[in-house]
């Protein structure tokens, strides 16, 4: 009986050794050929939202020759992300994309330790010699979605389920409101803060609270389809975000401002491969195809759709969204007549335009 046990142990050890050896071979094989590109996501890629959209972009990079990609999802902002990015850099990842604001300082620390790597941070404002940042002019697509919402509302109250009172979200709310007011000057936009990027239950509850005050179009700056479901259950309209969310609320979903990261990521990786990549701040928009409006539902009248498409062409042609005169909620003129808000002011926006009901705290 003892001999049988020992033979089993021997066989197990051999199997283990073989497994380890093959693992080692696999890794050495891959490392020799491909450029490694890593992605860090703040939520699971199954969120059908922000991280999902980034992962679609990653898949585009994965299709490139001589490039292999990998990712780590649901990485908390702060020290956890620093550890994840450090590990990626140590494992020889040449390019790392960090897709959440809170990854900014951790990425800066890692970039300083790995001068040969290329680091790209999404939605932040710090750069280094080998670290750039990038974002998309989502506010342009939000303006268009606001036009649709403003045209479709009957109660003139639009509900906005928002995550955190940071400039990116505030900017989106403002653009949405301006678009809605362009089609319907009497609308008000009510804002509710959920203090989370991704929490389907909380987001749905927040949407319900807006429905209770009479909102009949629900928009969101959240990463789950929770608010869409709440809107459909009440029988009202909704505007999605990040990706086309009509599968979750076919009777409610009108359209959604969406991301299209693929071309940008592919272009960046190409530049790194060719050695032409520069660390800088990029902020492409509708014209570059990085943001877009998802196909509008049949519930939107053709006349409205045509107006929206005309405006889209205008924006692609260079028309600006935040042009004066613009007043904040207190009536103070923030943008004088005839002038437009600069990029810097847009990136640091902490005030709401008139017509928005809510605080920026």
């Amino acid at each position: 009986m003892i001999a049988r046990g020992r033979r089993k142990t021997m066989r197990f050890t051999k199997m283990l050794a073989a497994a380890l050896l093959s693992v080692g071979l696999c890794f050495s094989q891959a490392a020799a050929e491909d450029m490694k590109v890593g992605f860090v996501y703040v939520s699971p890629i199954g969120d059908a939202g922000w991280s999902y959209a980034h992962d679609q972009g990653r898949l585009a990079v994965d299709n490139m020759d001589g490039v292999s990609t990998s990712y780590v999802e649901a990485v908390a902002e702060g020290p956890d992300s620093e550890r994840v990015m450090l590990n990626m850099a140590r494992k020889g990842f040449d390019v790392i994309f960090a897709t959440s604001f809170g990854y900014m300082d951790p990425m800066l620390k890692v970039a300083k330790q790995f001068p040969d790597g290329s680091f790209m941070h999404c939605s932040g404002f710090k750069t280094a010699d080998n670290m750039g940042n990038y974002f998309g002019r989502m506010y342009q697509a939000r303006y268009l979605s606001g036009m649709v919402a403003g045209a479709m509302t009957k109660s003139n109250t639009l509900g906005y389920v928002a995550a955190f009172p940071i400039p990116e979200v505030i900017r989106g709310i403002n653009a949405f409101s301006l678009g809605a007011q362009a089609m319907n000057p009497d609308v008000t936009v009510r804002v509710v803060w959920t203090k989370t990027w991704y929490d389907p239950a909380t987001e749905k509850e927040a949407a319900k609270s807006l429905l209770d005050v009479g909102a009949d179009v629900i928009a969101q700056h959240q990463d789950s389809p929770g608010p869409q479901e709440a809107a459909q259950e009440k029988g009202v309209y909704s505007i999605g975000y990040n990706s086309d969310m009509s599968a979750f609320a076919p009777k409610a979903h009108l359209t959604a401002p969406i991301w299209n990261w693929g071309p940008f990521y592919v272009e960046t990786v190409k530049q790194v491969k060719a050695g032409t990549w520069k660390a800088e701040s990029s902020w492409p928009g509708l014209a570059d195809g990085i943001v877009d409006l998802s196909p509008m539902s049949d519930m939107v009248p053709i006349a409205v759709q045509e107006k929206v498409m005309l405006k889209k062409d205008a924006i692609i042609g260079g028309e600006k969204i935040f042009v004066g005169p613009l007043k904040d909620q207190k009536g103070v003129v923030k943008v004088a007549a005839g002038s437009a808000l600069s990029d810097g002011d847009m990136l640091g926006m902490t005030w709401f335009v008139q017509g928005v009901v809510g605080t920026t705290e």
């Binding site: 497994a19 020290p79 404002f125 990136l347 640091g348």
Partner: protein, 357 residues
């Protein structure tokens, strides 16, 4: 007569309970391997990468140790309360308030030298966290409220207080409107030991762990806690001031969690921001249970659990296993270890022949 009976042991397993623990963890690993297999990931490779990511290299070891620090301190705090059978679920909120207290000192005295600022931050963090633990204790003793619910609810309040300060009065003007305080001055940062990656916070952990052990094993109050934890009525009958003991214990519990918050803010993040909250207070409860409230085992369990979290990241990166897998393993380990605890007090007797171990 049934073929299998469960019979209570004459004496609970002593040292052999170690083997039960290891067996339980092994079973949970096998189950996790099975889940990987069902998903299409090679299980042996997966478990290997998990361990390699957690402890397999100097970096991984360091990362696990660093991540274990806040978990250890919160868990120590939770253990102080649990020994008295006072269920402190509020370590998360006490951690938050500790961070807030420490930040207040750091931001209010930017010019002061380190030997004044750092002790000030420690004191403020302990006071703030202790205060947050004290309130539910008072409510429990004076108004007979359930401390589980009160401490849990107060977590939300504490986190909202942190958010309020970071979005408002303490927001860094140079941060483009993003919620974070200005970076602490170097005088307010707990630095690394020499040129290593280890923060002095590790030394804090060891010292506090030792104090905890001495306090619990060798002082009169430590004895009173043990006695009252086992039987409240007998303790009161013996004249032990149970009410005051509860309040003391909860204050100490909160103070330890607050200390963890101070270390996170000062040493790891160097500022206060909402993402400092990483669920350490809740993980601490799991760790305290797994370690049976013993400080040495808490250290080991905290390190293991931190290693698990770190290892799962490696698993994600190398084998594209979803992040939720880490949570699954953690849950499996807790379940199997708690189930294994059954064997410490009971044994299975097979009909006829002698029993199992």
């Amino acid at each position: 007569m049934s073929p299998i009976r469960i019979v209570k042991r004459q004496e609970p397993l002593g040292w052999s309970s170690c083997f039960v623990l290891l067996a339980a963890i092994l079973i949970s690993l096998v189950l996790s391997g099975f889940i990987l297999f069902v998903r299409g990931t090679p299980p042996l490779e997966g478990i290997y990468i998990l361990f390699k990511g957690a402890f397999g290299s100097r970096y991984a070891f360091e990362d696990s140790l660093i991540k274990a620090t806040p978990i250890f301190l919160c868990s120590l705090g939770v253990a102080v309360a649990f020994r008295l059978q006072v269920w402190n679920i509020g370590a998360e909120g006490q951690f938050a308030l500790g961070a807030v207290g420490a930040t207040w000192v750091a931001l209010s005295f930017p010019e002061a030298p380190a030997y004044l600022v750092l002790p000030g931050m420690m004191a403020m963090a302990a006071i703030a966290g202790g205060f947050w633990g004290f309130i539910p204790a008072v409510l429990r003793q004076k108004l007979k409220t359930n401390e589980i619910i009160v401490t849990l609810m107060m977590n939300y309040i504490a986190i909202l207080i942190l958010d309020y300060l970071v979005y408002g009065a303490w927001k860094d003007p140079a941060s483009y409107g993003f919620p974070m305080t200005p970076e602490f001055n170097t005088s307010a940062i707990v630095g690394n030991i020499g040129s290593s990656n280890f923060s002095w916070g590790l030394v804090h952990c060891v010292i506090l762990g030792l104090i905890f052990w001495v306090f619990m094993s060798y002082t009169r109050i430590g004895f009173e806690i043990k006695a009252s934890g086992d039987n409240v009525r007998a303790a009161r009958y013996a004249g032990i001031p149970y009410d005051r003991l509860v309040m003391l214990v909860m204050a100490l519990s909160g103070a330890l969690a607050g200390w963890a918050g101070f270390l996170e803010a000062s040493s790891t993040v160097n500022r206060l921001q909402p993402s400092i909250m990483a669920g350490y207070g809740y993980t601490a409860i799991v760790v305290a249970w797994l370690a049976r409230l013993n400080p040495l085992y808490i250290g080991i369990a905290a390190f293991m659990l931190a290693g698990l979290r770190v290892g799962v990241e490696g698993l994600q990166l190398d084998l594209q296993v979803p992040a939720a897998f880490g949570g699954i393993i953690e849950g499996l380990i807790l379940l199997t270890v708690l189930a294994g605890g059954l064997f410490t007090h009971y044994k299975i007797v097979f009909g006829g022949k002698g029993g199992k171990k």
